[in-house]
């Protein structure tokens, strides 16, 4: 008997705990959860949500933070699987594909969407529908340290590097002056997603062109070795490998060490993006002035890709619809409007160094020189759209990036690299 009473007690206790954790809120109050994969700015989101609660006391937003390099994808998967999906979130555009049937399709006629730049609305588009709204623009190409380059070539003009030959001559000049010309970050995401990604993306300004090329690799109608863009970009890559500051041990791939070396002027250029400012900005001794040079793939100065840099919107805001109530969804929509288009909301992003793709951002917002340089390319439309990668499964860049690393150290030659890339794509299914 005693036992039975004990178990009844335990069972009641468990039920009570469950009920309490489900929780009940007062009438009219809305509780939202926000999942952020932008781990470096967790604090910014927390401040924003506190402020939002101050001006809208009936809305409470709880941040579900993630850590840099932690399993963000897996955490989100488990939140969905356990019925605790966040009301709204920021994710990579590539993840829209995975969660497509669980995300809100934004109505493009929404009043405040007029503030989005045209390419910003495209960043979250999948199969013709808009699922995500971006909040930052990032870009990459060959970043150069102005002080170092100008110590060898005074009045250097980045626009002068618009062909492969020009880049070769530029590197030779730097090398002759005893300045290490460039640096490759020996990690698969950099050489796989970013460098090899150029081959797909430069097939056309729109996402569909790159996607068509990838699909032709998947169904085997195209071999990557037959593609002039692949051969062209690999010729340029050979140049980068030859003049790589890390050529004694190219695969260390220590982002802190590489950023620091670049900021200290140990090499003139670095194939990387403006996001490295989040690390460089915190260094004690650093150069402040940087610019970007496109990565040319041919000797035709008018060819697309030779004068452009990659600009992407790495994160998009989405609203969940399968586990959240209509009230929560409507509240989340209002929060997004405040965050993305109000002067007060935008200020948080500007202060954190994000260049927002919205046309109502205050004009006197100032950024670091890297972000500024990318924004200048963006302003004149000299951009490459890496959107085709949105449609790929999560491991494409890692797998092909590993192949690029093998090529970097000479473990395989270009023909073998092309074969491995072809073989990888054939294992993928068309989306």
């Amino acid at each position: 008997m005693k036992n039975n009473r004990f178990f009844a007690f335990m069972l009641t206790l468990m039920l009570l705990t469950t009920m309490i954790s489900v929780g009940a809120t007062a009438e009219g109050d809305v509780k939202l959860t926000y999942y952020s994969t932008s781990a470096e700015v967790n604090a910014m989101f927390e401040e924003m949500f506190e402020r939002y609660h101050e001006i809208n006391p009936n809305v409470t937003i709880e941040l579900i933070p993630t850590g840099v390099g932690m399993g963000q994808q897996e955490q989100l998967q488990s939140l969905f699987a356990s019925g605790n999906a966040p009301t709204f979130m920021n994710i990579d555009p590539a993840n829209i594909l995975d969660y497509q049937d669980k995300l809100m399709v934004f109505d493009e006629d929404t009043e405040w969407f007029k503030y989005l730049n045209p390419d910003a609305i495209e960043a979250g588009r999948m199969d013709g529908l808009v699922y995500g709204l971006p909040f930052s623009t990032q870009g990459y190409a060959l970043c150069y340290n102005k002080r170092v380059v100008e110590s060898v070539i005074p009045d250097f003009d980045p626009a002068s590097i618009n062909t492969q030959d020009a880049l070769r001559a530029f590197f030779e000049t730097l090398d002759a002056a005893g300045v290490p010309p460039t640096m490759i970050h020996g990690a698969n995401w950099s050489v796989g997603a970013h460098y090899l990604g150029l081959v797909y993306a430069v097939h056309g300004k729109d996402t569909a062109s790159g996607l068509r090329f990838i699909e032709s690799l998947i169904d085997g109608t195209m071999k990557i070795a037959d593609d002039p863009l692949f051969q062209g970009y690999m010729d340029t890559y050979d140049l980068l490998v030859k003049y790589n500051y890390r050529k004694d041990d190219p695969l260390v791939g220590d982002i802190n060490a590489d950023d620091q070396a670049f900021a200290n002027g140990e090499c003139a250029t670095f194939f990387m993006g403006d996001w490295m400012w989040t690390i460089i900005g915190t260094l004690e001794s650093k150069d402040l002035e940087y610019g970007f040079i496109p990565v040319p793939w041919s000797n035709d100065p008018t060819a697309f890709g030779n004068t452009e840099v990659v600009v992407s919107m790495p994160k998009v805001m989405c609203i969940e619809v399968t586990q959240s109530t209509p009230e929560q969804q409507a509240a989340a929509m209002e929060v997004l409007e405040w965050m993305l288009t109000s002067a007060e909301g935008q200020e948080y992003f500007i202060q954190a160094g994000f260049s927002m793709p919205y046309n109502n951002v205050r004009e006197d917002a100032s950024y670091n020189s890297m972000t500024q340089a990318i924004a200048e390319y963006s302003a004149v439309g000299k951009t490459i759209n890496i959107g085709c990668f949105t449609y790929l499964t999560g491991d494409a860049w890692a797998k092909t990036g590993d192949m690029m690393l093998k090529y970097t150290v000479g473990a395989i030659d270009r023909a073998e690299l092309a074969e491995e890339i072809d073989a990888f794509w054939k294992t993928q299914t068309k989306q």
Binding site: F6, A81, T393, D395, K406, V409, A411
Partner: protein, 293 residues
């Protein structure tokens, strides 16, 4: 009367082990069975729906060249680590029971690495291999130390082995020390009187009496090294170019990054069967060699 005593005994059983049984069921048995069930589906870890694909996932596992290659890498890593861990641990235990000065302090020292988690350990050693050893190599002109161990496929797997041995040797040493201490004095004295010294005594008397310790230590090293994930993640993360990605990590990547949960889970089942077979065979074989005193 009999029935009520059965109920009573059942009640006692539940009272004492109910909670842990519940936890065991929830975190081990049910997920295992559910995972096994998922190997027959095409679930992608996100979708609400999935369909049955029969044995397709298992066919994929055995035709996945990468998984088979990584499985061989894992076997090599496990074999070398298991032998080295035990040799080092046994040697340490032998030396630290021979009555040298400060042996308790040394025992503690060798045991400490085991108290540090695999993730932290991996980061510490990553720093050592990438920054400390390379600086020593450059300062003293030692060519093979000038580049990081972690950027060459052959050396990176050795880096994994070195850290594994460093991590487990101290723990196994404790088990061996217990084994050494547990050998009856009279048997040792008898061996001495019979004129067995040094290695002869070690191989003919000490080691046969320590088979249970070997048994436990081998089981621990085999099962743990087969399942190595944390160290793999923090030390090499599969680098360079996937050459040090062990089976457990491959399973994880397949399930969560490639979003082929069914295939990843099927690989996990295959891995489980192999580990269980090897570990149990090892225990059974060694059990026969145990000597009763």
């Amino acid at each position: 009367m009999r029935e009520s005593s059965l109920v009573k005994r059942g009640g006692y059983f539940l009272a004492f082990s109910g909670l842990s049984l519940f936890a065991f069921l929830c975190v081990l048995v049910i997920p295992f069975l559910y995972g096994f069930f998922l190997t027959f589906t095409d679930w992608n870890a996100i979708s609400d729906t999935f369909s049955f694909v029969g044995l397709q996932n298992y066919r994929t596992v055995f035709t996945d060249k990468e998984f088979l290659r990584q499985f061989l890498v894992t076997l090599r890593y496990v074999a070398i680590s298991a032998i080295l861990c035990n040799v080092v641990a046994f040697t340490l235990a032998y030396l630290l029971t021979s009555g040298i000065r400060g042996q308790n302090l040394l025992r503690g020292g060798f045991f400490v690495p085991n108290l540090i988690g695999g993730i932290i350990l991996g980061y510490i050693w990553k720093f050592m291999f990438a920054n400390v050893f390379t600086q020593i190599g450059k300062a003293w002109g030692i060519d093979w130390l000038k580049t990081s161990f972690l950027t060459n496929p052959d050396r990176a797997i050795w880096a994994m082995i070195i850290v594994t041995v460093w991590q487990y040797a101290g723990y196994l040493m404790m088990i061996y020390i217990a084994g050494f201490v547990g050998i009856p004095k009279d048997v040792q004295e008898a061996a001495d009187i019979d004129g067995a010294h040094g290695f002869r005594k070690l191989f003919r008397v000490t080691i046969p009496l320590m088979i249970p310790s070997f048994n436990i230590c081998m089981f621990i090293t085999l099962s743990r090294t087969f399942m190595t994930y944390d160290l793999n993640l923090s030390l090499t993360n599969g680098a360079p170019y996937g050459s040090t990605q062990l089976a457990a990590m491959h399973v994880y990547q397949k399930a969560f990054m490639s979003k082929q949960f069914g295939v990843g889970q099927a690989e996990a089942i295959v891995l489980f069967v192999v580990v269980a077979l090897i570990s149990v065979t090892q225990v059974l074989l060694n059990k026969k060699r145990e000597v009763e005193v």
